[in-house]
């Protein structure tokens, strides 16, 4: 009995602790990925508020959107919000690069530099073109409601059969791809309604800004899901989506796909700062492939309640969302707000089902965070300085291996990253000692996994010892 408890304690103490105090230097926002859509999901009990970003850049006459929704929405359940809400949530929760500075052990020099990221070009979302909408009983399509909300003309349709709905949509100017009909059927049979949107060019012009606002809808339904299948029927290749979840209770997670954490708290080479966006893009690509292309990635999770006095990020990449931002995002209660950022790359092949979510009481904080440590400035003539150089060369070697493990970048275009400091080591034998290549760092939490496995094996052997002994006896007997 004692043995089990001791083993258990061993596993507990092997968990790593992490302390932090550094500077935020760069962030990777949602715009670095092509074909990215953004959605805010606010959920409490059975009530959901969905906000859909709209960065459509073409002719507004070509814009149309069809979204399956669980209920017929009332006029007061639909509104437009300021597009800045997406930028705020994105900037605040995106993966971040932080930087530390070493002090020179010979002279204490402290320098602090803050660099800003380079922005990747913004991509356009593909949308269907719209024509005039007309009611037609022939297709067994019912217009349940019709609203004008700011620049948008909205129809809520219910249908009896997919071919009718498809024909109705096509006749009314919506380009529905051939494969979409097969996807429409399950939605219709599941009693979902269709939220059909187009833009009135005149009203948009009156608005003055020229850009379309994100649409926000609220409804009461036990279904907590995002219908991605219709979008997939329309698109070729993979699509990225960032989901911002805001709840009273804790994190949101996917119930029909695996929700995994993006690799975080990794020490990477200092040159990552110059190109953090492509670093994160490649990191995500690698993680996505490694997890079998059908996982949902957690990029951020934190309590962001305006009343919450504790730290809301570590470090913060922007000002935390204030009450006004949260209410723009659809939060309709006062009190605790837990913010989850999920990143999903979906394709028809790997995501057969829509995304279903649940709110969990999981309040653990998480952020995608990468660390660079700037070396001290020379000279390093004193003994401590030389010792520091040895450590630095080691560390830089490890950073390169980490970079390769995370993104596949070899760092071969930076030959002086390690050698530059290695050449400063005066003692020949020490310099050569460091030349020995360092093995790539073990993946996240390798040792705890190993301890746990050993503990499990031991428990199983102990429990099955009787049976095993019996087998052993039989064998010796047979011999």
């Amino acid at each position: 009995m004692k043995k089990y408890v001791l083993l258990a304690l061993l596993v507990v103490t092997s968990a790593e602790l992490f302390a932090f105090c550094g500077f935020y230097v760069a962030k990777a926002d949602a715009k670095i990925f092509n074909k990215t859509s953004q959605v805010i999901l606010v959920r409490d009990g059975d009530y959901t508020v969905v906000t859909m970003s709209n960065d459509f850049k073409g002719d507004v006459k070509d814009f149309a959107m069809v979204v399956p929704v669980p209920v017929v929405l009332n006029r007061q359940d639909i509104r437009t919000v300021n597009p800045s809400v997406f930028n705020k949530l994105d900037a605040y929760s995106g993966p971040r690069l932080v930087e530390y500075h070493d002090n020179n052990p010979c002279y204490r020099i402290v320098d602090k530099e803050i660099m800003l990221m380079d922005m990747a070009p913004v991509s356009e979302m593909s949308m269907r073109s719209a024509g005039n909408l007309e009611k037609d009983k022939k297709y067994k399509v019912t217009v349940e409601a019709e609203y004008k909300v700011d620049e948008y003309d909205i129809l809520i349709l219910s249908a009896k059969e997919s071919t009718g709905l498809k024909q109705w949509l096509t006749e009314n100017g919506y380009k529905i791809p051939g494969t979409a009909a097969a996807v429409l059927d399950p939605y219709i049979k599941n009693n979902l309604k269709f939220f059909v949107v187009k833009v009135d060019a005149d009203r948009l012009a009156q608005k003055g800004t020229g850009t379309m606002s994100p649409l926000q809808i609220g409804f009461n339904s036990p279904k907590f899901m995002l219908p991605i299948r219709l979008g997939m029927a329309n698109a070729d290749g993979d699509q990225d989506m960032i989901v911002y979840g805001l709840t009273k209770k804790g994190r949101i997670e996917c119930t029909n796909y695996r929700t995994v954490e993006i690799p975080t708290n990794r020490n990477v080479p200092t040159f990552v700062r110059d190109n953090f966006s492509s670093f994160y893009k490649d990191l995500f690509n690698k993680a996505y492939k490694y997890q079998g292309r059908n996982a949902v990635f957690l990029e951020y999770a934190w309590n962001v309640s305006p009343s919450f006095r504790g730290m809301k990020c570590d470090p913060c990449v922007g000002p935390p969302p204030i009450s006004r931002d949260l209410s723009q995002a659809g939060v309709y209660w006062n009190g605790n707000v837990h913010f989850t950022r999920l990143h999903v790359r979906y394709s028809q092949e790997k995501f057969a089902q829509d995304l279903f979510f649940q709110v969990t009481p999981n309040k653990e904080n998480f952020q995608g965070r990468y660390i660079i440590t700037n070396p001290a400035r020379g000279p390093f003539d004193c003994d401590e300085g030389q010792a520091y150089l040895s450590k630095l060369v080691n560390r830089r070697q490890n950073e390169l291996s980490e970079l390769q493990a995370l993104t596949g970048w070899t760092g071969s275009d930076r030959p002086h990253y390690v050698k530059g400091y290695q050449s400063l080591i005066k003692n020949d034998s020490k310099r050569n000692e460091i030349l020995v290549p360092i093995a790539s760092p073990p993946s996240d939490g390798f040792l705890p996994k190993l301890y746990f496995t050993l503990a499990m094996v031991l428990i199983v052997i102990l429990l099955l010892s009787n049976s095993l002994a019996q087998l052993f006896k039989r064998r010796t007997h047979a011999l």
Binding site: A182, E253, N362
Partner: protein, 281 residues
């Protein structure tokens, strides 16, 4: 000859269960990023200590460590919480329910089920992650193969097949026939580790399921039907847990309708020494 020896090796079906559940847990740890080791340690400790303590109170000479480990493994595979105290509570309640909630010298609830449901209902800190297994078809095949081995030894395969058969038939008609959706959607629904863990390890628990074969078939169908309803109409993603909880009282009813012999983990002759002192718990 060698083959025969290996089959004779595990007289106790629980040995098989421990082996397979451990393999699944290690699979999750190495391949699915399950890294909450502190919680696993707490669950194991809580289950074992409670089992030994309760056995001590009832002066049973040989505590049933194996069944406590099976409960602990099931909890590690299914249960999530923020606080380590919730994990401890869940472990303690699971094992304690075996001793406290009894009828006709038999515990009423599946121990891990009771712990999970209690924590879901009465603490604001517990949840179940049905998505955490991913959708790996190879894993599913392996899972079913392993589970069959265990169940064939215990002889409770009927419950599993009745449960899965009912759920699959209903789901097939709904998804593939009525919704006219493709097979992948249907298959993906059944490649969830949670459903399979349930089907093969939880609803087959010989101590808390009906005694007779007919009774178990009815029971399996009942749980399958309930799961289907809860998943598709009430959007309960942890539906099998609730279905099994609701179905548990029916075990008593089914047992009165269809009589059957009481289950013992070990063959009769091996139970004599333990039973002479006190019943096996």
């Amino acid at each position: 000859m060698e083959q025969k020896n290996i089959f004779k090796l595990f007289k106790d079906a629980r040995d098989f269960q421990i082996l397979w559940l451990s393999i699944f847990l290690l699979y999750g740890v190495w391949n699915l990023q399950w890294n909450n080791f502190a919680s696993y340690a707490v669950i194991f400790s809580a289950c074992l200590i409670t089992q030994v303590f309760c056995n001590f109170l009832l002066s049973v000479s040989k505590p049933s460590v194996k069944s406590a480990i099976i409960t602990a493994l099931s909890l590690c595979l299914l249960f999530s919480a923020n606080s380590l105290w919730t994990f401890a509570l869940c472990g303690i309640l699971s094992i304690a329910s075996k001793f406290l909630l009894r009828l006709n010298k038999k515990h009423i609830f599946n121990p891990s089920l009771f712990g999970i449901v209690f924590c879901l209902l009465f603490t604001d800190d517990a949840w179940v992650s049905p998505g955490k297994w991913g959708n790996e078809y190879l894993l599913v095949v392996f899972f079913i193969a392993c589970a069959l081995l265990v169940l064939l030894k215990v002889g409770r395969i009927g419950t599993s097949l009745a449960f899965l058969g009912t759920l699959m038939t209903l789901e097939f008609f709904r998804t593939c026939i009525y919704f006219n959706d493709n097979m992948w959607v249907f298959l993906q629904k059944f490649s969830s580790g949670t459903i399979l863990l349930f089907a093969f390890f939880m609803i087959t628990d010989p101590m808390t399921t009906p005694r007779s074969f007919k009774g178990r078939l009815i029971y399996g169908c009942l749980v399958g039907g309930l799961t289907f309803y809860l998943t598709n109409w009430l959007q309960a993603y942890d539906a099998p847990i609730w279905a099994l909880t609701i179905a548990t009282p029916f075990t008593i009813l089914i047992n009165t309708l269809f009589k059957g012999a009481r289950f013992n983990w070990l063959p009769e002759h091996m139970n004599i020494t333990i039973n002479s002192k006190k019943q096996v718990i």
